[in-house]
């Protein structure tokens, strides 16, 4: 907004030396407090599933009043404490005080199938707080794991439909059953150690980089690349201490069994860095934010070898697979060091369970 000709401009605080102390205006609150609609819908879905889970466990329906009281417990308790000091002025026979910030009717409206409105940003704060509280207590792990795995399967199906790898070329069978059987044997559930290039002097704490492959299905295989610390944190040795690096899919265009002991997959490696971290944040000297890379991977009982086409993006991704930063300048394809197969133990299995939880974009 432009100031009028004759209007006096406010002096900057640095000149007056006075700090302006006042509460945030409604406009400022809207600027600071913003939740995307997709974020609100996701949290409401989690809360609804939590309500259903409570009902299942308790063997009786759980209403929105119960959920409202759980969400608003801190505000109700605060109100009760404040009114506790004014007992002579209130009717102590009445029910416990309830904050008016969020009501049972609000919940009924948000979950009404005939209505589409969402909680305002100010009201949604209370739901966000409650869901985060449930999350840190582990109460919604199963619910969120199921939602995130379902999303992963949805993306896998979409990729299958989009790329349409086909077992037949005309009337000729391209993907033979024997090839598929070997892919199932050497690819599904594979876990491989990757010789990543680290930023600076090395990993922040003794760590390895792992390339985790899930089940081979519809010629699309979910993959994850993570940094796993060799020893868990003090007192949490059994828990995997890891940093998620990349997540994505290996989309197979063709498979070829190389004898009985090896199988090669040609296709695309689609990776994304959900965290958005830079090398300074996670310690891997890769500047790649993700992308689609033409690749071939040869799997065997001992390990896997990945071959990556050259390209500008690859010059950034190379360090993940042990290629010096900028190695993509080379004209020929890159053959990073072989990846060693790692035995799946309880820590790897716990890691895979944790990797079900995903970063979700909201915009």
């Amino acid at each position: 907004m432009k100031a009028g000709k004759g209007s006096a401009k406010p002096l900057p605080n640095a000149l007056t030396g006075l700090a302006q102390v006042r509460g945030a205006s409604a406009a400022e609150k809207r600027l600071v407090l913003y939740y995307p609609d997709a974020f609100k819908r996701h949290y409401l879905q989690i809360l609804d599933r939590y309500r259903q889970e409570l009902a299942r466990q308790g063997g009786k329906p759980v209403g929105w009043k119960t959920i409202r009281n759980m969400v608003m417990a801190p505000e109700d308790e605060k109100l009760a404490r404040e009114r506790g000091g004014q007992r002579d002025r209130i009717n102590v026979e009445t029910a416990r005080p309830e904050s008016t910030a969020v009501s049972e009717e609000n919940f009924k409206g948000w979950y009404d199938k005939d209505k589409s409105h969402l909680p305002s940003d100010v009201k949604f704060q209370y739901i966000e707080r409650f869901v985060r509280f449930l999350r840190k207590s582990g109460a919604i792990d199963d619910i969120e794991r199921a939602l995130d795995l379902a999303q992963g399967e949805y993306v896998r199906d979409a990729l299958h439909l989009f790329y349409r790898p086909n077992s037949y070329g005309g009337d000729r069978l391209v993907l033979k059953e024997r090839d598929l059987a070997l892919a199932e044997k050497f690819v599904s559930g594979g876990c491989f150690e990757v010789e990543a290039q680290w930023l600076g002097e090395g990993p922040p704490r003794p760590a390895v980089c792992l390339f985790l492959v899930r089940d081979y299905g519809n010629h699309v295989t979910p993959v994850d690349i993570v940094l796993l610390r060799k020893e868990g944190r003090e007192g949490e040795e059994e828990q995997p201490d890891f940093v998620p690096l990349y997540t994505g899919f290996l989309v197979t265009d063709n498979i070829l069994a190389l004898g009985e002991e090896q199988v090669a997959l040609w296709g695309k490696l689609i990776l994304s860095k959900g965290s958005g971290a830079t090398p300074r944040d996670d310690g891997i000297a890769s500047l790649a934010e993700g992308g689609t890379y033409k690749s071939s991977v040869t799997f065997s009982a001992d390990g896997a070898e990945i071959s990556l086409e050259t390209g500008d993006d690859l010059a950034l991704l190379g360090p993940v697979f042990g290629v010096e930063a900028g190695g993509g300048d080379k004209k020929e394809g890159l053959a990073p060091p072989p990846m060693r197969r790692v035995r799946r133990d309880h820590r790897i299995e716990a890691l895979e369970r944790s990797l079900a939880f995903r970063y979700r974009p909201w915009d």
Binding site: R129, R280, L287, D312, L316, S354
Partner: protein, 117 residues
């Protein structure tokens, strides 16, 4: 046009040297204290990711760093990175309960939300 090898190396070198982010990644409280004494801020956001040192610590599960950093008065756990995520979001994806507890308590002092009606 893509980046040349020299440009990539230059960018990587630029990223080394901000002691608060290194401290957050390595869970080094001494390094953090030294950087704070030299006037660095825990609310500083890095180029590219928009992470604050709290984001980096949450991503790496650096508990000692988080514990000490969250005691400092000016630190803001509500800063969003360039993907719109809070530090606690990174701890939640990893289901790092200890880091989640520390950040939750800092975000909701006495259990209260930021803006009440």
């Amino acid at each position: 046009m893509g980046l040349s090898k020299a440009e990539i190396e230059r960018k990587l070198k630029q990223m080394i040297g901000n002691p608060l982010f290194d401290a957050a990644r390595m869970d080094d409280v001494g390094l953090m204290q030294g950087a704070l004494d030299r006037g660095r801020s825990l609310n500083e956001q890095g180029p590219g990711s928009g992470f604050t040192p709290l984001h980096t610590a949450a991503l790496n599960g650096s508990l000692r760093f988080l514990e000490e950093a969250l005691k400092i008065k000016h630190v803001d756990p509500w800063i969003r990175d360039n993907k719109g995520m809070l530090a606690i979001d990174h701890a939640e994806v990893r289901r790092d309960r200890a880091a989640m507890n520390l950040l939750f308590d800092a975000m909701y002092p006495n259990g209260q939300v930021r803006f009440s009606e």
